[in-house]
């Protein structure tokens, strides 16, 4: 009953909005003193300057620059030979920092790590995020000391980790815990921001996830007398583990 009423209201609002939309577009065209633009116009200035699009660093330079940039923003970077080393790295950190609750994405790469058993062995309770199962997921992430994700890609030029949302990959995993660990297989590390952004244009609207986050360091603020504070709302500790 309530729902029906609400849906009827939404429908009414949409009809109103569509009418307003026409008014908006006609007003814009009128102000610009030309007929309505119905077709996509040619866009001669799309994207970054040409010289920039030709820039591509070799793997070693990408790794070095990524580390420099993320470290400068207050993050930490470790270069590890394989997934086994990544598992050990996280386990040691969990022990060092006394992590009790850990939340991770239900990612194949992370499952292959065999992390859960190793972390359980050092006394941490691991939740594996998966929206297909019923669970108070946000609460699981909010209580977590560590959030563990596999980055979908990374950008050397800006020192950014890229994470996309999905049923198995909650946005909260990279946001609510105190510390964030992101595993980055080195072949996912790009030179420029544009290399990642262009893939979203190529994929098109329907293929995009609800959210895509570029994370370039720990949460920060300088709002109190320009004094830098780390971990205001998001994780105050960010580790990028470059694997391979």
């Amino acid at each position: 009953m309530m729902d029906n009423e609400y849906n009827a209201w939404l429908k009414k609002k949409e009809a109103e909005a569509r009418q307003k939309q026409e008014q908006f577009m006609n007003r814009i065209a009128g102000k610009l003193k030309r007929p309505r633009q119905q077709e996509a116009p040619a866009h001669p200035f799309r994207g970054a300057p040409t010289y920039w699009r030709e820039l591509e660093w070799g793997l070693e330079e990408r790794l070095a620059r990524f580390e420099d940039n993320l470290t400068a923003a207050g993050g930490h970077v470790a270069r590890l030979p394989d997934l086994k080393a990544a598992k050990e790295f996280i386990t040691v950190k969990a022990q060092e920092l006394g992590a009790r609750y850990i939340v991770r994405q239900d990612d194949r790469l992370l499952a292959e790590l065999g992390l859960d058993e190793a972390l359980a062995a050092v006394g941490a309770k691991v939740s594996v995020w998966n929206g297909h199962r019923d669970e108070a997921w946000i609460a699981r992430a909010a209580e977590a000391d560590f959030g563990i994700v596999a980055a979908d890609s990374a950008v050397a030029y800006t020192g950014s980790l890229v994470v996309q949302s999905a049923a198995e990959k909650g946005r909260s995993v990279s946001l609510l815990p105190t510390a964030l660990f992101a595993i980055v297989p080195v072949e996912r590390l790009k030179t420029r921001l544009g290399e990642v952004l262009e893939t979203f244009d190529a994929a098109g609207r329907e293929a995009l996830p609800a959210s895509i986050h570029f994370i370039s360091g720990p949460s920060r603020s300088a709002d109190i007398e320009n004094d830098l504070t780390i971990g205001v709302h998001g994780p105050g500790i960010v580790f990028a583990l470059l694997v391979g």
């Binding site: 209201w9 909005a17 307003k20 939309q21 008014q23 908006f24 577009m25 814009i28 065209a29 102000k31 610009l32 633009q37 077709e39 996509a40 116009p41 866009h43 001669p44 200035f45 799309r46 994207g47 300057p49 920039w52 923003a73 929206g131 946000i138 909010a142 800006t158 950014s160 049923a167 909650g170 946005r171 909260s172 946001l175 921001l193 544009g194 952004l197 262009e198 244009d201 609207r205 995009l208 996830p209 609800a210 959210s211 895509i212 986050h213 570029f214 994370i215 370039s216 949460s219 920060r220 603020s221 300088a222 109190i224 007398e225 004094d227 504070t229 205001v232 709302h233 998001g234 994780p235």
Partner: protein, 526 residues
């Protein structure tokens, strides 16, 4: 509302504010300079940014329509609001249908334009600003004074006092303690809020996505935890594609804070997908005009819509750096505010004279990552105000008189001659200290120089000889310097004496004192 002059005077007398604004703007400006030099080819990027914005605005009907259609296809509810009041009404209706009791907000200049917090509170809904700086000024009941660092004008002791009241216990004025309290406090708010409200830095037409830039993570919280998301978006926030975002993401953080990228850049494409474990179940996007479309087709002001709200013009502006954001009296401060506030308001009668508070130095244009000629726009605003009869009557008369005198060289020389005779009544030791007529404003803080007995033009022949006689030059220069020093000493002693006398006469409310005296009188001839 006070006048610009009164607001500026208030700011100029707040020593902490002036120091804080200067320190912050210098820090941000240096950051921007380093970041743009480090990136290289900055001019080419600025030009690219400008072209993308020009192109988008020139075809705004196509791109905005495309964005709305694509956002709907993503499952978002799109609304259009002509005025701020309409946008508020839509948001309140949504809140009412959701029986919302609390709203968490991330920083958004558009929502400042709407005064949505007040409207929500009147409807009995708690509205919490979650950006650290915005939270602080919300507790203080104030408006942001800088587009990027809203609480620039508050010191840590004031902040500790505000937060202690909220905490119900005494918090020490230490940044880490204060920020830690805010983290805990706002966590509760995020987790219990019914609605999250965000602004929108860019909207991508091709995929109907909105993009948010931030450092704290509160915009992510607001768009992750509550079940309903409402995004306010200025109708001009559009860019065509994700590829274009690379240019904006290069220009915006570097220009705003000198960062290579903000800590978080988030692209949100519709509400959560069916099986997602978080994110809003319902997403509303309210697209706002509120005077923006007035700029379209106006050759003088259309480029105003290119603005990406980075705040670089504030940090570069010598006027902003002296008087701070509140003196501008509107939602937007600094050079962009001085132009945007009147431009968004069709009613010229309601414009105040903030456009006159500028030296037109063009530093804002130099700093702007999309090359908006703000200093030209300030002149256009002044002209429009005068043309529509809202200029200063006395000034208009003065300008007419000036035009009449200077239009003919004979009249000009005659006027100067008369001036030299008449000024004898008011000249004291080569200066005119009297605060009468048109000299009132100028002489309040300075001393007007007198007209020279022999005008420059009449001296030119002699001067030419002097210049040629290079051997004699050094002697002349030395003598001139000595004369100047003596004159300056005399003047300083006298001005101080006069100020002391004045202080005793003035009421306690008047703040002028020795620190206020500017000695900027130069000599100029006819």
């Amino acid at each position: 509302m006070r006048t610009v002059k009164e607001r500026a005077e208030l700011a100029l007398n707040n020593e902490f504010l002036r120091k804080a604004v200067r320190f912050t703007t210098e820090r941000l400006r240096d950051g921007k300079r380093k970041a743009s030099e480090d990136h290289g080819n900055w001019e080419e990027w600025r030009e690219r940014g400008r072209q993308i914005r020009l192109h988008t605005i020139a075809h705004l009907d196509y791109y905005l329509n495309r964005f709305a259609e694509q956002a709907r296809a993503n499952g978002a509810h799109v609304h259009f609001a002509e005025t701020g009041a309409e946008a508020v009404k839509i948001a309140l209706e949504i809140a009412a249908h959701k029986a919302a009791r609390s709203v968490v907000k991330s920083k958004s200049m558009v929502s400042e334009e709407l005064h949505i917090n007040r409207a929500l509170e009147e409807a009995g809904i708690e509205a919490v600003e979650t950006d650290l700086g915005e939270y602080i000024i919300q507790l203080a009941g104030e408006a942001p004074s800088h587009i990027i660092i809203p609480a620039i004008h508050k010191n840590r002791h004031q902040i500790a006092e505000l937060l202690s009241r909220e905490a119900g216990e005494e918090l020490p004025p230490e940044t880490s303690v204060l920020a830690g309290f805010v983290r805990r406090k706002l966590r509760e708010k995020f987790l219990s809020a019914d609605i999250g409200m965000t602004g929108c830095n860019f909207a991508i037409a091709e995929t109907g996505s909105i993009v948010l830039f931030e450092n704290e993570g509160n915009a992510r919280m607001v768009s992750t935890v509550p079940k309903t998301q409402i995004t306010f978006m200025g109708m001009e926030r559009i860019i065509p594609s994700w590829s274009d975002l690379e240019v904006m993401a290069t220009l915006l953080p570097r220009s705003a804070t000198g960062q290579k990228l903000t800590v978080y850049m988030s692209g949100i494409t519709g509400p959560r997908r069916t099986a997602d474990g978080d994110g809003p179940e319902e997403m509303h996007i309210i697209i706002l005009d509120n005077g923006r479309s007035e700029q379209l087709g106006d050759p003088e002001f259309q480029e105003l819509l290119n603005c990406i709200r980075c705040g670089a013009c504030l940090n570069a502006c010598p006027v902003y750096r002296h008087i701070g954001g509140h003196a501008y009296g509107g939602t937007y401060s600094g050079p962009i505010g001085a132009v945007l506030t009147p431009a968004l308001n069709k009613n010229v009668a309601e414009w105040d004279d903030i456009a006159s508070a500028s030296s037109l130095c063009g530093a804002c244009y130099e700093a702007c990552p999309v090359k908006i000629p703000l200093h030209d726009m300030l002149v256009y605003l002044r002209r429009r105000k005068v043309e529509q009869g809202y200029g200063n009557k006395l000034e208009t008369a003065g300008m007419k008189g000036f035009a009449a005198v200077t239009a003919s060289s004979k009249r000009f020389h005659r006027a100067l001659k008369a001036g030299r005779v008449v000024q004898r009544l008011v000249v004291r030791n080569g200066e005119i200290p009297a605060r009468i007529g048109p000299l009132k404003g100028w002489n309040k803080y300075r001393v007007a120089p007198s007209l020279a007995n022999q005008p420059f033009r009449e001296r030119w022949d002699t001067l030419q000889h002097e210049l040629r006689a290079s051997a004699a030059l050094t002697v002349t220069a030395q003598a001139a310097q000595e004369r100047m020093k003596a004159a300056l000493n005399r003047r300083a002693a006298k001005v101080e004496g006069r100020e002391a006398a004045d202080r005793t006469q003035r009421s306690a409310g008047d703040h002028a004192g020795p620190a206020f005296v500017r000695k900027e009188g130069q000599t100029y001839d006819g």
